[in-house]
């Protein structure tokens, strides 16, 4: 099997419009969570969201402005990752380079606009001379879940497979894992992997509101509304944005003299087969064990876990217990944090964003905290790096967890790369 390495990454999210500013904000425990846009607040006054810190359109050409917002985020993050990897495009081995994307709600913004336009035209007397069925001809190719993957292949001339994974909150963790496997087992030599999501629109948020999993705004400071592992946690905050990675075989990266950010060393994946939304200790622990096993690491060799940590009542306790089950006595030593306390839950983008942050932590020895953790829940008894980042840590290997509605569990392990 081939060793697989990460040679570039990029981020556009509520904490920053690039990787450096996002990681710096996370180390400062700054929150990107706040009030939601007026058109949503009109119907849902009691929710908070994590909007991307910049409109992706401002980072793209005019010809990209009609694309769905999730595709726009994906293009911005992919451009950063490809630039950092020093990846000349189209590459001469373009048939051996794939594109793997994870997204939860494909084309959510475009779908919402379609319905809004139809009903507005139908109900607004000043528009009665217009046929409500007239829609933009590219509505379907903008909504399709693989719109981002298609856009990236075309922009960079990548001719390998372009696969899109929609596995709720685990979408981009699975995209990374499957791309890693394809390279590891020789089907491909490199891949651009992106996790993206843009569902801060009225329709999607009405759905989330009905599920009763979203945090209530903190009365004194809305930016503190998402409090993972805290005794007063009250749910998650939906965020938007994208993160991207360029991964390739170690031999390809060595051949072209590329800098390596980390080795992708393990991918574990399991299904609970139990409940639509309730998490399971066995399923989560199994994913973590598989990832450790594939990486050939003992639990005590992992120094940092970026937890799924959504700040739901059940989720944080189950994940804590899962880490105990998978790590045994090493669970007491490992530092764990949920950066969702700051950037919110990017759903399809979450796995990629959190792995990129974990690899930053691996390389600089600074671990991002779990923000707003003033009152730890006694049932959550691990070291969650509360409130403040921890600097000067020696980190050899990191884990990033993503557990999805539908019972899909993914755990990824990255480690320092030692050139042969």
């Amino acid at each position: 099997v081939n060793k697989v390495v990460v040679t570039g990454s990029g981020i556009i999210c509520p904490l920053g419009a690039d990787k450096a500013s996002t990681f710096a904000a996370a180390l400062e425990a700054r929150s990107g969570i706040g009030a939601c846009p007026a058109d949503i607040a009109a119907w849902l006054p009691c929710i908070v969201v994590a909007q991307a810190c910049v409109d992706p359109q401002t980072r793209l050409e005019r010809s990209d402005q009609g694309l769905d917002r999730a595709t726009q985020f994906a293009l911005v993050a992919a451009a950063q990752a490809i630039a950092e990897a020093g990846f000349a495009c189209p590459p001469t081995d373009s048939r051996r380079v794939g594109v793997f994307v994870g997204i939860g709600f494909g084309g959510s913004q475009t779908s919402d606009s379609l319905y809004t336009r139809f009903y507005k035209t139908l109900s607004d007397p000043s528009l009665k001379h217009k046929d409500p069925t007239v829609m933009h001809p590219l509505t379907v190719p903008r909504i399709m879940a693989n719109a981002a993957a298609a856009a990236i292949t075309m922009r960079y001339g990548l001719h390998g497979p372009s696969n899109t994974y929609s596995v709720a909150c685990a979408s981009s963790a699975i995209a990374i894992g499957e791309a890693y496997r394809a390279i590891r087992h020789g089907y491909l030599d490199a891949a651009v992997v992106v996790g993206t999501e843009a569902m801060l629109n009225a329709g999607a948020m009405l759905g989330w509101n009905a599920l009763r999993v979203m945090a209530k705004p903190d009365a004194s400071d809305p930016s503190r509304s998402c409090r993972p592992f805290s005794s007063d946690r009250c749910g998650f905050v939906i965020g938007e944005g994208a993160a991207a990675l360029v991964i390739e075989s170690a031999s390809r990266s060595t051949q072209r003299g590329a800098q390596v950010l980390a080795e992708l060393a393990g991918y574990g994946c399991s299904s609970d087969a139990q409940h639509l939304t309730a998490p399971s200790i066995d399923g989560q622990a199994h994913a973590m064990q598989l990832a450790l096993q594939e990486a050939g690491l003992a639990p005590e060799q992992i120094q940092y876990i970026n937890a799924h940590g959504t700040a739901t009542g059940a989720g944080d306790v189950i994940e804590t217990q899962s880490i105990h089950k998978a790590f045994g006595s090493a669970a007491r030593q490992v530092a764990v944090s949920s950066t969702k306390s700051m950037h919110g839950h990017l759903i399809g983008g979450a796995g990629a964003l959190e792995l990129v942050l974990s690899i930053e932590a691996l390389n600089c020895g600074s671990l991002p905290p779990t923000a707003h953790l003033d009152n730890p829940d006694p049932c959550c008894d691990l070291d969650y790096i509360p409130l403040r980042a921890r600097h000067g840590c020696h980190v050899e290997a990191v884990m990033s967890n993503s557990f999805a509605f539908g019972g899909s569990n993914v755990s990824l392990v990255a480690r320092r790369f030692n050139a042969p």
Binding site: R62, S63, T121, L127, H129, K130, D131, T133, V134, H136, P137, L138
Partner: protein, 120 residues
Amino acid sequence: VAEGAPNWCAEAVNSTARKISVSDRIPGVTQVTSMLFDQIKNYLVETAGVDRQKFENPELKVADLKLDSLGLIEMLFEVEDKYGFQIPDPMIFLPMTFSEMVAAIDTMVQEHAGSQALKD
């Protein structure tokens, strides 16, 4: 006019060719036609990347715009969105000059406005 194109289309082209052949700047051309000409031209120049110079040529062909089938219907959406109706067959415009197309669309806009007035 394309073979198999509906009769009204041929009529539209013939009746409006007179208006259009003298370009959109000359009196006698309907205001809507002139607006349509500019609206579509501006879209093509600013969003689809068509060279502005091309529109100086009164014989400019729709085919010379080098739009693919998606590009063609995206261009028509500029009109559909503004006037609130769907243009039934985008392919009829392919053999026309740009001015003939604008004239044909103008006729459709008028017909749509007429049918709406009848409803009122």
